[in-house]
Point group: D2
Chain length 444, copies 4
């Protein structure tokens, strides 16, 4: 036990002043015949939760963690797995995600590294047996090691490509072994620093070759989890190829890969790309590609990936609105790709941060559910576009007319009358949903 | 009457579904022995409310306004004043603000322009008589006319400086005549497009000369309203001299002007400068310079002044927290320097937008008041800094020790223990204040 | 004659101190068997050159133009066409581009508007006869008129869709009639202000329907010019659907439209999307989609479309590098979608700005040509990726191996050795190309 | 010797193809009676040059350095000093800068740390004896150690304040001992993460107390080097108190500190604050506060501190223009606060990067010198503002008139005529200075 001082986190309701209790997230509360836990499918990100040590580009490790004194890498690896499951169970979180390199140290050769992995994976499987906590998705870290300095699948060096391939091969095998629901590709170094030294066409072709190999190998071993691409526009590289959902979709389509992939969308990556979180979710959704979510929050006044725990009710409400419209995230989930602030360095802060994030997403779900149930906002939208359900609008939608008929229809018409977009009003309605959260049902 | 279809906007409470009613702003509700109206001191910005026609850099006028058909400029000027008072009274807003050029058309010479102004000001004074609506502040438009292309007080052309001086002279006289509580300087063109053609030192000196002349003239005529500088970092100019509160304060101090000025802080200007709205408010406040607020909201993914009506509860709560800590804004106020979205072009949208903004600020005030009253957040801060109230900390604050004593004190000490900054936890507390808004008092 | 004081602008060489002469652009200078004029294919943007009046969101018209006194809209329209041809001939520019609404005033109905257009188009055709100046591309203005407040093809109002369709129909007819090389779609209002009132899926479907109608109609009338999409991420709308080249390409592919379109890439739009100008050019190029260029320059510290005349040698060099690698731009061109600064309000400034832009692009072409000819930079890149031309790399590229073979190949290998990316060195080489511009050839 | 393969870098002229030679920086070349070396006063930043290991938030150490195998911290410290002097001498750089923690490892207590420092400082002094390389400035690292997580002088914890005080005390003593020309305060953690947990007023007061103690102690020990504040708006903290020059100046003035400080201005910090590099230099210069420069370059499309080696000729030209107008930087200098790209990991890259930066600044100096000597640009500016040298303009500048006289002067005047700002033309002149760099003098 690593967090002896901390008991299981339980739901105490909105008036609770207990920092170590949920105020809004009641996992067994039922909405639409499903408990909140099934709607939200929360997941712990192994890296930020177990490995983040507080270092930033101007400061060194400062996190107080019960495993800080363990020196032997393999012992440490095992202990962190134990800590993860302890955390997950105390927080009532059913899933977790990890990179291959998060869970086991590298050896001198890939063969040795894989042996280390095998040992830790066996340990994970022991923990998985009781079925309380499961693996949401697995991924390979193709960015931290110096060999990936110029990219992995897009490295100018084919040995690096080979290494990356072998690493993903192993990660897919592990994903299958631990029963992961998905496998994520985040190409942190798949991009460029400057175009003046870059063969962009070859790099993109190679990236596609790499993904095809992954698809083929997954088929071969019978890994049926969902493949997910996680877009990010930059950082660490100056330009990353999976800039945003649309960029990545364009790439996948070009290379005949789109059938095999959905997207894992991260809030802070969306805003770094100049989009709202909701935009990326919506865009993926209407293309049938919303697979999973990396739940965190950026700071729009800061130009780097902040990965804060999400505490903004607007963002979680609009995100959950998209999730509901998507019919849920299954088999994906809400993975907290979030780290505590460097100033929140105690173990207790870790729990407080998860509680904050889970409560905020639970609230977001409940408000979004009310919005969808009431239908008030959706009706305004439906009313707005009703012109396309009849007359000339219907003909447009049905492809029955072209430029000539439309010209004839409009050429002598007087001024067109539009209706208001009602933006401020709809924003005030959204506020009502938030503020009236605890108003008696009859009054709402 | 311009808005015949719209009745007086009244408070109907949070469950109301009437788009033309307040849900949260009850002007007569008492907090701390003062009605909400006195806390909030709402004001209408004449320009965005009466003159904004919907044009943007890529689109032409589209606002449907009852005065659109009036051609004669002076008739139009009078009618808009009438419309303003109708709006203010229907919305229960007690203040308004205006630029000289908002209210009356220019003539061929400044003398003629001033005559036009005199007529409209007389009309305003008629309206002011019943005391229902008052002037919060006055300002001069020193940016729209082509003569100000290279600046006003900072123009390379002394004739332009002279013209601007004469314009502010008249505006100060008007401010006195209408009993304005303040006078604002927003230097939209006081800046530069490129340094390669700019004598920065002379321009800043001239700006200071100009402000000194204004101070002198106000004294001479006995205008005792508060002088306010409104910072903005850019737009329309590439760089504006009053970049943010600190930049402007540095300028005012250098030229011996700081005693005469406070700041009028606009939310969207703060974020364009890379600050939060709260930062600018706080920074002004702790320097004794928080004078008034231009209430609006930007979009942090957009790089220009959006001037939306404020509907973000977080922003209004944190802003009102600063206002409360400031002991209120009197004689300043909350001026809605906000315009309806171009897509919200009906007269009704105007009312809906004000209602959205007023409700959101009323909510912000109430939540902020609870936060201050409960003292929970403030206590965490006090606890955090308590080290400076005793021992070595107290000596530091009292200036009793220097580097040598501090070295001696610390040189053999083992590692220093810090406490958590509790950011995520405090963010979750803030969420509790918002979400529990309608939880029964005993439960909160 | 509108610009009587200004003679034909001629090439006087780099030492010239004549503000109204080219220093670097000699149209008849031969590079690679083609004169500079054919490489660069400069074009005047009608809107920014003839119609821009200096207004910005905070200031009114200030441009001094010889046609300012003309009141009658049709007379003005004719005169501006004359002025355009005078400008083009004096500047030795062979192409121009225009929106339908740039050249003729709107009437009460579309039929009347089209009649106005017919008259002005006839006048343009008279000017075209001598073959000195030609039309690069035509487009329809689907954003300025209030009817387009919520979009054109993506408007919630089918009447607006119909109007836009009729407008593009006419614009295509005009494009054919004036022999335009291309037709551009810039969807300034095809986007959204907020997702909470938007049916994103329907809007995108409708946009595709619209473009299919355009393709069909162009075929029908035999317009064979190149269709071009011009991406922009935002402004005026909060989010525009053609965010960047990749976003637009994804859209075109989804709807089976990509065979019919290339891209018209604008420098300032690229940077607003978070990309370099070169990135967008390169990305389009390697997808076979680089069709034409809107030559201008943004200010990366400003968040709006600045549309400055391009004067940065780095940008024009790297742009022309892409153009050379593209085998030129034909039948596209370099259209100066650029406006003089508001402070550059005299007619002479207009000439000075074009000279600055043309000189800078001519320099860019010459330097880029030397870079390509010398092959020094390209060789470094080739060397960098040589691993993919042999051994395991070649097998990867040829699709001969998969994850299993790659794992076997690498699993026992010791550490991989990478080579430097040489970024700083390559940047210093680029500087040598710029600085040694006039070093004797033998020394370079 | 660490860089045995690399000979002294010598000047070979612009046509040289030797990557390890200067093409433009000839240290003994004379401009205005001073050699380039004295104009430029180049300095090596110890941290980025000797300590930067290539790690970034997503990747681990990858720099190949000859000292990578040395394990003993004190041996390593000594060897790095040797390497620094070897580098400086091979590159012909006369200065270097360092943080206290760059040069020696920390011990268990501050006393032990200081002992380590004493040993390394003695070693530095041995190297300094021959006078070839000198110390430009010294600073204390008050941000890397976990104790500074919440700030140093602005920490909520007075023990941390004491520790920081003791550290600066020692650093000042070292600065005196090594004959440093300056001492820099960069407050990387002097700021806040969120205002909701921050006592802004107390933190700023404490920062002032700290600086006063530093001033007092420097006086006491007779350290006469220049105190410099280095502004930065954010990173690592969300908001840093020395946001930009004006913010910092406002602070220094408020607390009576401005007499003791000038500014050390960094290019990338300027742009992160929303300013051009030239703006910060100019603003400091006209306030008599331009003390020293941290020479590097950012990427305006990236939101973090990139610290690239400067290779942009425009930036170095405009920077050196300000330096010349400042009468040079003495006793400050041009410190390369720049790191090689992570992909440039060989020792040779280090030399190539310095060569690129030094060449680019040498070119900037030469072009700026020509610009100032020719006076062409300055004359345009003088002409632009000439109105303030006579008539009404002169009276304004001399403070002889006020609003009333100015109104009288202008009230009946017809329209004011302005002159063009000539921005595009001046930009094209600047291009001529760059492109004609090697045009024969008589032709230029």
């Amino acid at each position: 036990m690593f967090f002896d001082d901390i008991k299981d986190i339980s739901y105490e309701g909105p008036s609770s002043k207990n920092p170590l209790a949920f105020k809004y997230y009641n996992p067994v509360e039922i909405i639409d015949e499903k408990p909140l836990s099934q709607h939200l499918r929360f997941s712990i990100a192994f890296w930020h939760t177990l490995n983040y040590n507080g270092a930033d580009p101007f400061g060194s490790n400062n996190m107080i963690r019960p495993w800080n004194d363990i020196d032997d890498p393999m012992t440490l690896a095992f202990k962190k797995i134990d800590a993860l499951f302890e955390l997950a169970e105390k927080l009532n979180i059913e899933y977790f995600c990890f990179h291959d390199r998060d869970i086991a140290p590298e050896g001198d050769t890939l063969r040795e590294t894989n042996k280390n992995l095998d040992k830790v994976v066996a340990h994970i499987k022991d923990h998985l047996k009781d079925g309380k906590v499961k693996v949401l998705w697995v991924t390979a870290n193709l960015f931290s090691n110096p060999r990936y300095v110029h990219g992995a699948a897009t490295s100018p060096n084919p040995y690096v490509f080979a290494y990356a391939a072998a690493q993903v091969k192993k990660a897919l095998e592990i994903a299958k072994e631990v029963g992961a629901s998905g496998y994520v590709f985040w190409g942190g170094r798949e991009g460029y620093e400057t175009l003046i030294n870059t063969d962009l066409a070859l790099e993109l072709d190679n990236l596609a070759r790499f993904l095809h190999m992954a698809v083929d190998y997954a088929k071969k071993i019978g890994f049926t989890g969902q493949f997910l691409v996680e877009p990010k526009p930059k950082e660490p590289t100056k330009h990353q190829y999976d800039f945003d959902v649309a960029n990545a979709l364009s790439f996948l389509n070009k290379y005949g890969l789109s059938d095999y992939f959905k997207f894992n969308i991260e809030a802070n990556h969306a805003t770094l790309a100049g989009h709202t979180f909701q935009h990326e979710l919506r865009y993926a959704r209407i293309n049938g590609k919303l697979g999973s979510i990396d739940a965190n929050e950026g700071d729009l006044l800061l130009g780097w990936d902040v990965d804060r725990f999400p505490t903004n009710i607007y963002d979680t409400t609009l995100a959950m609105y998209e999730v509901i419209k998507n019919g849920g995230l299954y088999p994906g989930g809400l993975n907290f790709d979030a780290k505590v602030r460097r100033g929140s360095f105690t173990p207790e802060d870790l729990f407080r941060a998860f509680i904050a994030g889970m409560d905020t997403f639970a609230v977001g779900l409940k408000i979004a559910h009310r919005i969808v149930e009431d239908g008030e906002l959706d009706e305004i939208i439906e009313e707005r576009y009703k012109g396309y359900k009849k007359g000339i609008g219907e003909k447009i939608v049905n492809g029955e007319i072209g430029f000539e008929e439309l010209e004839e229809y409009i050429i002598d018409k007087p001024q067109i009358v539009n209706t208001s977009g009602l933006q401020e009003y709809m924003e005030s309605l959204l506020n009502q949903y938030i503020l009236n959260f605890y108003l008696e049902n009859k009054e709402r």
